[in-house]
């Protein structure tokens, strides 16, 4: 069994060349662990321009070999061209399993690659384990209200991994060897291509990647009061999220919405400020490792999922929490 991990780079977002995203290490580490359990081998695949030089870094995450498709034309993401390159590499190295992060790029690529390879797809997995010589994947359904175990029966198999759930491992081990693979890309392979990237909120981590998230709800009363949420997020180095009520009211952009029709997040810490905890909100955040709720209604459903709750006025508690954290973290 040969497993290939798609190592995503932050290409296009960083001005100074490519860097691996954390999800690349998560995919690499999961692939190498699975290969260990199955008695197979794992490799990584990197695509883009200027990526050959960073390939060896994946050695630290369990990869002995990294396949690189390095091409000027791939400097910007193209679903059609990237999928062609990936499927070509999978076929030419005879890989059986392809692992992507369930990132914006991974979710865009995986179904396309699966269709090319006639491979079954298990999306947004939260666990992968070897069973009976094959892979058993666990994934949430119904917005996390259920879990299913899925088996893929086709010879080739594609998985995407929910970000922040799989450990990236701790980097150790020797640099990976890099092997370039040339893929014949024509203009007609670029019928879909990225022509620009705009970064929303520089300085704050993105919701789906953040380790800590502070979200605000309708109880804050108005957009100007999000300053208490932002103040807390700043001390914690956290991303800022919002409930749908807040987004629908136009207080925050849609990008910030957490929940069934917004983003699904699984940070280490989720702080819900003045959010009632409607089922559609919980759907997006209940898999967070620790949940803190601050709400003046002791019966608010958010307390059912919160590890730690304070019943009280957000305008009193949040600034106090911010100032005590500042002290505790020596940021004063």
């Amino acid at each position: 069994m040969k497993i290939i991990a798609f190592a995503e780079t932050s290409h296009g977002l960083q001005e100074a060349g490519s860097k691996f995203k954390k999800v690349a290490f998560e995919a690499a580490h999961a692939a190498s662990r699975l290969a260990g359990e199955l008695g197979g081998e794992a490799e990584a695949l990197v695509i883009g321009k200027g990526v050959e030089s960073i390939g060896p870094e994946l050695g630290g995450y369990g990869m002995k070999k990294v396949r690189v498709v390095e091409d000027e034309k791939l400097s910007q993401y193209s679903a059609t061209a990237y999928a062609k390159a990936i499927a070509f590499v999978v076929e030419s190295v005879s890989a059986d399993v392809v692992i992507f992060p369930a990132s914006a790029m991974g979710k865009d690529l995986a179904p396309r690659v699966a269709a090319k390879l006639k491979a079954g797809l298990a999306a947004d997995c939260i666990a992968l384990k070897a069973e009976g010589g094959s892979v058993l994947a666990t994934r949430p359904v119904y917005a996390g209200k259920g879990l299913i175990d899925v088996k893929i029966n086709s010879p080739k198999k594609v998985f995407t991994l929910r970000p922040n759930v799989f450990s990236p491992g701790a980097p150790n081990g020797s640099p990976a060897s890099v092997e370039k693979i040339a893929v014949d890309l024509k203009d007609s392979d670029f019928t879909s291509r990225v022509t620009g990237v705009s970064v929303a909120k520089a300085g704050r981590p993105d919701l789906t990647e953040a380790n800590i998230i502070v979200s605000g709800g309708r109880g804050l009363g108005g957009p100007e009061n999000f300053n208490i949420v932002e103040g807390l997020a700043d001390v914690l180095g956290a991303a800022v999220g919002a409930s749908r009520a807040v987004v629908d009211a136009g207080w925050r952009p849609h990008d910030d919405q957490v929940g069934q029709t917004g983003k699904t997040v699984s940070p280490s810490l989720y702080v819900a400020v003045a959010i009632s905890g409607a089922i559609q909100h919980l759907a997006g955040m209940s898999s967070s490792k620790y949940i803190v709720a601050i709400n003046k209604d002791k019966d608010a459903p958010i307390f059912q999922v919160a590890d730690y709750g304070i019943v009280g006025d957000a305008f009193e508690i949040v600034p106090e929490l911010t100032s005590q954290l500042k002290k505790a973290l020596g940021r004063e």
């Binding site: 296009g12 679903a79 999928a83 990132s103 914006a104 790029m105 979710k107 865009d108 179904p111 699966a114 090319k116 079954g120 797809l121 947004d124 949430p140 359904v141 119904y142 209200k145 259920g146 299913i148 899925v150 088996k151 893929i152 086709s154 019928t191 879909s192 291509r193 990225v194 022509t195 620009g196 990237v197 705009s198 929303a200 993105d206 990647e209 914690l236 849609h254 990008d255 919405q257 029709t261 810490l269 089922i279 759907a283 209940s286 620790y290 002791k298 307390f303 999922v305 919160a306 590890d307 730690y308 304070i310 019943v311 009280g312 508690i317 106090e320 005590q324 954290l325 505790a328 973290l329």
Partner: protein, 250 residues
């Protein structure tokens, strides 16, 4: 323009998940089925293009008899006709995508719209799979769309981590719609009446296969309701301590 929208039927967002007798699927006995919420953005996008450039909007749905309801709901919003690919066993995303691709193959579609994901299995797969099966370019999770009919180009914005990406596509193409793309219209009374006489063609699929198999379904482990630390700001030091010592986050 020839516009198609693939629409799915799903349990509504309030659904309490109970595992069915087979231990693999949801207990469907008390479920309220709705048009998949993301598909409403796809429908609206198609209708706006039709309003602007004239043409025809066709809805396609794969599933059992009840799927006619979502086609009717879509037709009540606007558009011209429906295709119901009738099967009681739609199978996995790959299987659904194969049936849709077979039905859409020689239709001369300019744009095929999908929702970004079905809110039952949350796969986010069918649209992009259909694109690949038909050899078409695609953009997923689209929040902004501009189509230039004369140059046969679509310029989209899609959500990515920490920002947005502009994607250029050549027509014909596939778009999967995300919330934010537009504000879906409500069916008017006139629309609901008109939908009753719009044609829905029923076709029988052949040759689709599922490549995946659900072995078991269960509820996620229930979270223990946590500790209420207090009812005013005197609880804050305790919270800071727990975040440090128990959660080890700070």
């Amino acid at each position: 323009m020839k516009l198609f929208v693939c629409v799915n039927q799903v349990p509504d967002t309030e659904t309490k998940v109970k595992v069915g007798q087979d231990g693999k699927t949801i207990d469907r006995s008390e479920i309220n089925l709705i048009l998949n919420p993301y598909d409403e953005f796809a429908i609206e996008a198609a209708l706006q293009l039709k309003d602007k450039n004239s043409g025809e909007v066709t809805y396609v749905s794969v599933g059992g008899d009840s799927h006619k309801e979502v086609i009717r709901k879509a037709l009540a919003m606007g558009g011209d006709k429906g295709i119901h690919i009738k099967t009681d066993n739609a199978g996995d995303s790959y299987s659904v995508a194969m049936m849709l691709a077979a039905a859409l193959k020689d239709t001369g579609a300019d744009i095929i719209f999908f929702g970004k994901q079905s809110i039952d299995y949350d796969d986010s797969a069918v649209g992009t799979m259909v694109a690949e099966m038909l050899g078409l370019p695609s953009a997923s999770v689209v929040v902004k769309l501009d189509v230039d009919v004369s140059s046969k180009k679509a310029v989209c914005e899609r959500e990515i981590e920490g920002g947005k990406e502009t994607v250029e596509l050549t027509l014909p193409c596939v778009i999967t719609a995300q919330k934010g793309l537009n504000d879906p219209r409500y069916p008017s009374l006139k629309g609901i009446m008109a939908a009753k006489s719009k044609p829905i063609q029923e076709i029988t699929p052949s040759g689709a296969e599922s490549l995946t198999e659900v072995v078991a379904m269960r509820k996620p482990p229930a979270k223990q309701p946590g500790k209420i630390l207090g009812t005013d700001k005197s609880a804050v030091p305790e919270l800071v301590k727990l975040l440090h010592e128990e959660a080890k986050i700070i």
